[in-house]
Symmetry: C2
Subunit: 218 residues, 2 copies
DNA sequence: CTTCGCTTGTGAAATGATTCACAAGCTAGT
DNA sequence: ACTAGCTTGTGAATCATTTCACAAGCGAAG
């Protein structure tokens, strides 16, 4: 019941634990140890216990954690007991792929509106969602109580769209455009950038092939 | 010229700096200060200087950093002077979107092969890339020297594909399937998970709407 | 009822990352 | 040549996260 400051990486791990717990629940498993959760999530058992203990004591010593109860607790903490209304801005290739991604709805994220500026796209239906002109965004977000906005526009427009979403009272933004979004005070933004991830891998490859011919033991 | 251990987040920032530097270079800017880079990248100026100083001294006191020279240095460090060969496994919605994403090639990541198991897709051409049967993966990866593999399969197959890529001698993996990949020793994996990101935002929304009515100052 | 094996919960220690603060140094202007 | 105004590079300090290590507790078995 305490509400501690909790880091991004901790939240991510908690979401991962929840995913595993749901899977285990589906398999009829009733108890799971921190060691087991750790193995499946790539963390250490101490880390798992520390993460979970932030919010209280949910485990039974000697036995582990009750899968179903812990799943419900995490759902509460993460706000995943309820479902969220999401809107999508930018129905290009990525946007279309997202609209067709059934898992979003299954996991509680319902895309209730989509927007674009391109006249060829506006008015069409994509995977059952009608594409509206961007100008309707403020009205729809307020009217329908949209909580999360996904930006899948070209990078040039992303900042402007973010500002627009923020002004319309959106609660959070998931950004696929490869730019750093600023000036969205109070609205948390998370950016997913394929190229940036690839560049991170490039660094590892480059250092591995250069000096780091280490670990050539045996 | 030193090769320090460098954290993931630092690498990400360096890639971001590089992106900004290239933009500035395109605008004809020759010098940039740490303060300016910081503003545009969302970091602090001290952070920028610390990051850059890990690899040597590139700046001129009183003036800043030479845009072009620093860009080249970062390209070297990150391995982004060269181009990389990438293969894609899983030509579904996300896979198709990736194949159509021109920026990958522009940034030096060339998709040279695509694989799938679905008979309807195998043999077709998607955005100019012929889709091959998965069975050809080991041969192609070795023959063409593919360095990076992108997994865009359903989660059930992802682990198996990762193992296959690793055995074929791939250097790194970018994973879009919502599972933790293990058993790929020595092969770095980076996972991009839309749902996990949304769940992170969900946590923020949930805590914001619950107790945390703080910062309600006038 | 006692013992044994296993697991949690958690202070304390270690490690890692970021911020501070300032000496050193460059450039332009006088 | 000197001063004024910026900016870098970096040790030290702060802050955050992860790992360690172990007492406390549970349940099964005898």
């Amino acid at each position: 019941m305490t509400r501690p400051r909790i880091s991004d990486s901790a939240v991510r791990r908690l979401a991962l634990y929840l995913r595993l717990l749901r899977e285990l629940r589906g398999q009829g498993v009733e108890l799971v140890s921190s060691r087991e959760l750790a193995e499946r999530s790539g963390a250490t058992s101490a880390q798992v216990r520390k993460d979970l203990s932030l919010f209280g004591s949910f485990g039974k010593r000697g036995r582990g954690y009750a899968v179903d109860a812990l799943a419900h607790t995490l759902e509460n903490i993460l706000g995943l007991g309820q479902s969220w209304r999401v809107c999508l801005v930018g129905v290009g290739k990525i946007g279309t792929a997202l609209l067709g991604y059934r898992d979003l709805a299954h996991r509680g994220f319902h895309v209730v509106a989509a927007f674009d500026t391109e006249p060829k796209v506006v008015g069409t239906e994509v995977f059952g969602i009608r594409v509206r002109p961007l100008s309707e965004l403020p009205h729809v977000v307020q009217q329908d109580g949209v909580e999360i906005g996904i930006i899948a526009t070209p990078p040039e427009s992303a900042q402007e769209v973010a500002r627009c979403l923020a002004e319309a009272g959106i609660g959070a933004i998931l950004n696929f455009a490869p730019v750093e979004l600023t000036a969205t005070d109070h609205v948390p933004v998370r950016t997913m950038d394929v190229v940036l991830e690839l560049e991170g891998l490039s660094y590892l490859l480059a250092t591995a092939s250069r000096g780091d011919q280490g670990t050539t033991a045996s």
